[in-house]
């Protein structure tokens, strides 16, 4: 295995593992918002499977999946900045810092890794074409 393909293989695996961390964190983030007294955030359940869908997309289109993953990560932080469940201070784990570190960061890291992987593959294929 060449060092280039080794790096690419590492990137794919790292992207996958970051996505798993992001998915689990997203699930618990959603559960925090389900504590809202008025049940305003039940729609967040539809976001929970998204990282898994993006992982499936990443098998064929890593760049698009990476972009979607980054967008989802950023969206969760923005969402948390503007919206709050109804009983502040009583739900453990609610806080902007936690959302950024435990939800957004793994998702963005996963997305960036997939984008980097695609970029490296693109450069490698371009280099091979130039050699020909």
């Amino acid at each position: 295995m060449t060092s280039h393909s080794l790096v690419k293989s590492y990137l794919l695996k790292a992207g996958f593992y970051f996505a798993i961390i992001g998915s689990v964190s997203l699930l618990f983030f959603n559960l925090i918002f389900q504590e809202d007294w008025t049940q305003r955030f039940t729609w967040l359940w539809f976001i929970v499977p998204l990282p898994v869908v993006f992982l499936i997309i990443a098998r064929k289109f890593p760049f698009i999946a990476g972009l979607l993953m980054v967008a989802l990560g950023i969206f969760m932080s923005v969402f948390d900045a503007f919206v709050s469940p109804g009983n502040p201070g009583q739900i453990a784990g609610k806080g902007m810092v936690y959302t950024i570190i435990f939800v957004s960061l793994p998702l963005v890291a996963s997305g960036m890794t997939y984008i980097l992987y695609r970029w490296k593959s693109f450069r490698a294929s371009k280099g091979a074409k130039n050699e020909l």
């Binding site: 961390i21 964190s25 618990f28 925090i32 009583q90 739900i91 784990g93 609610k94 806080g95 936690y98």
Partner: protein, 220 residues
Amino acid sequence: MLKIKRSIKNLVNYFLDIVLAFSIIATLASSYILWFVLPRGQGAHFGMCAHQGMGITGNYYTVFDWPRYIWIDIHNWASVVLLCLIILHILMHWNWIIETLKRAKAYFSGPVRKVGEQFIASVTLLILFVADCFTGFVIWLILPRGALDYYNMLAGIGRTFWGLQRNVWVDIHVWLATLIVAIVIIHIILNWRWVVDISKKISNRVLEFFKGKERTGMEP
């Protein structure tokens, strides 16, 4: 002889892992109930914990007829059992840890090998678990739940440990636990082949045992 020893060790590991899995499930289930089903109340009950600490100032709901305070006890002691099992798990895999440490240097200069990933996942899991146990002990023993905690926390004058209020320790505790769940999933994915192989071996042996019994039962 060596083969028999190895097979016994595998069997012990396998069943210890099953007990470990049940222990993790018990801890996670109780933590899920504490976090989302019976979240903390305002904590203004002072020393008068009438009705087992329930009432308008605390969470007065129950799960399986047990109030939040019983669930906290279940969670604490299930975690202590889990801690003991994990120490046992580490001791039983001590040789693997030492061997893998020695191979770590070769790993980083060689091709992708699963053993390195397993090692990184295991070490991460261990570090997270130790940190989570520490935060758990802080909120259990050093900063136990007290009267007017909620109001003091809002005012920023609550009791602190290392400069952090109790609610911050609780937040760190729950998010570390979330990370542990994620890494446990990765740990199982990485060791999936071993789990399937040993499960197949054990189920084959059980089937053979029952088939043998059937045969001897049919003999006149």
